[in-house]
Structures are given as C-alpha cells and as structure tokens.
C-alpha cells in the first residue's frame, strides 16, 4: 500500500528532524529544565514546518565521510585564511584573478550547495555562479593544480552525502555528460 509506506516514510523523517532540532534546542537553552516543555512544542512545530518546505528529497550525512572530511576541511580552511592574510599584508599581493568553469559531477541537491560553499572557504577559490550544469569559480591565482584540487574535494563531498530512500538516479559522472550550453 503506497499511502501507508508514504506515511511511514514521512514519520521517520519527522522523527529524525525533530531529534536534530532537539539537540539544537538543548544546546541553546543549556538543557534548562523549565525550557523543556516549550522546547517540545517548538521542536515539533519547527520539524513539521521544515518538512513542508521544499526540497522534498532528504539527505543524510555519512559518519565515516564526515570523519574524513572534517580534518581535511579544517586544515585547508586554515591554510586559506593564512594565504589570504599573507597576501593582504604583503607589499605586493601578486593577484592573478581568473574565472574557472567547473562542470558538475555531483548529483543535484545539497551536495552541490555544500560543494559551492566549501569552495569559497578553501585557499584561493570563491564560487560566484551556480546553475544546473556548472559552477563558476573565481580564483586568486591561475594555478594549474586547481582542477585536481577541486576534483579531490568533489570525491570527498560525494562520500559525505548519501541520498535517502531513492536509489541513486544520477550518479557522479552522468551529470558531466550534459551538453555545454
């Protein structure tokens, strides 16, 4: 029965979303006892509201992917800050700004948004344009190793997201075959 399966699916998502929001509530209130009852109301209504909004597809983190991604990201973003600080203070910043077009291999959804945001925090790159086929990246140098770096980041992020309930319709690789505009 489709309806039944749909409801169960919805209930599971609601439960998970509520748990996530409950953690946030507990952190914010310092788990104060007199905040628990209003918290229950807020958490459940916020969870319902968030599920009513698009996008309908739901994604989850992969713990192992996160474990591998986090140190990589922290180190690289620290490097990014140091790099930009060095340029800001140096007498001659030697900037060679270029725009690079990056064609998506990641499947559509949060993974792409996450990629675009991460790119902006890594050394020398900033995402400045976003559509279904490509991401436009502004780079501080015209560095030849950039493409390789970006592809490595792409695999890291692909490991990070797991699409829930729907079998992967669009695996990485198939997206890149879209014809150029």
């Amino acid at each position: 029965m489709i309806l039944f399966a749909d409801h169960r699916h919805y209930a599971r998502r609601l439960l998970r979303r509520s748990l996530e929001l409950a953690v946030v509530w507990l952190v914010l209130t310092g788990a104060a006892p007199d905040g628990l009852l209003p918290g229950l109301v807020v958490v459940i209504s916020a969870a319902v509201a968030s599920l009513l909004l698009p996008p309908g597809r739901s994604w989850v983190w992969r713990p192992l992917g996160l474990l591998r991604f986090l140190p990589f990201f922290l180190l690289r973003s620290l490097l990014a800050g140091t790099d930009v600080a060095r340029r800001a203070f140096s007498r001659n910043p030697r900037l060679a700004p270029t725009l690079v077009t990056f064609r998506w291999r990641l499947s559509e959804g949060p993974a792409r948004v996450f990629f675009a945001n991460t790119v902006s925090l890594l050394p020398g790159t900033l995402s400045v344009g976003f559509d279904r086929e490509k991401l436009e990246i502004h780079s501080l140098d015209d560095d030849a190793g950039l493409e390789q770096d970006l592809r490595r980041l792409e695999t890291r992020i692909d490991e990070l997201f797991r699409q829930e309930s729907e079998p992967a319709a669009e695996r990485p690789g198939s997206a890149s075959e879209a014809p150029p505009p």
């Binding site: 914010l28 310092g30 698009p54 976003f130 559509d131």
Partner: protein, 116 residues
C-alpha cells in the same frame, strides 16, 4: 596584565578593525563592496559578543552573538535580493516580492562604476 584586560584589548582591537572597514563603505565604489563591510561587521561583531560574554561572564551575550550571526546573513541575502531583483529568479524563485519595487532600486546605484 591579567586575562580580563587582554580580552578587553582584543574587543577594542576588533572594534578598530570594524571602524577601518568603514573606509570601504565610504570609498565603495559598488554597492557590493559596501555590503562586504556589513559582512565584516557580522563576523567581527560575533567575535566581540563572544569575548564580552567571556569577560562579563554573561552567557546571554552568546545568544546575542548567535542572533547577530543570523541577522548578518539575512542582511546580505536581502541586499542581493533587492539589487539583483527579478533577474535572480533562478536562485530565489520561492520568495515573493513586488517585482516593480526591486527593479527600480537595482539600476540606481549598483552600476555606479563598471570595471572591465
């Protein structure tokens, strides 16, 4: 020098960087440049609130920092929404505003200086 003075010195330092950032608001030249100062306000402001929370032992200031961080994000999104107006429909198709209103402002000051 004890901890409190050091932390307060850091607060002053952050205030100073914000004030320096205001020069970019004066110079512009584009609205996007000016908006960047607002973004700078956001992060440095959060830093200031967090340090003050530490110095004064008031955890409430941390909540303020959190709200401040969110408001800074909302401010930037509002800016982009207004200036890009109807052309930004791919990114913000869901949001609804009167299109006529955004259009007029968009052309007013963003194109004050065009760079090749």
């Amino acid at each position: 020098m004890n901890d409190t003075t050091l932390l307060l010195a850091c607060v002053l330092f952050l205030l100073l960087t914000i004030c320096l950032g205001l020069l970019r608001v004066v110079k512009g030249p584009t609205a996007a440049d000016r908006m960047l100062t607002a973004q700078l306000f956001g992060t440095s402001g959060v830093g200031i609130f967090l340090l003050l929370a530490e110095v004064s032992n008031h955890p409430t200031l941390r909540h303020i920092a959190l709200v401040y961080a969110m408001l800074a994000a909302v401010a930037v999104i509002t800016f982009v929404r207004r200036y890009r107006g109807a052309e930004a429909t791919t990114t913000f198709r869901a949001a609804k505003t009167a299109p006529g209103k955004t259009e007029t402002i968009k052309t007013a000051s963003l194109n004050t200086e065009k760079k090749a």
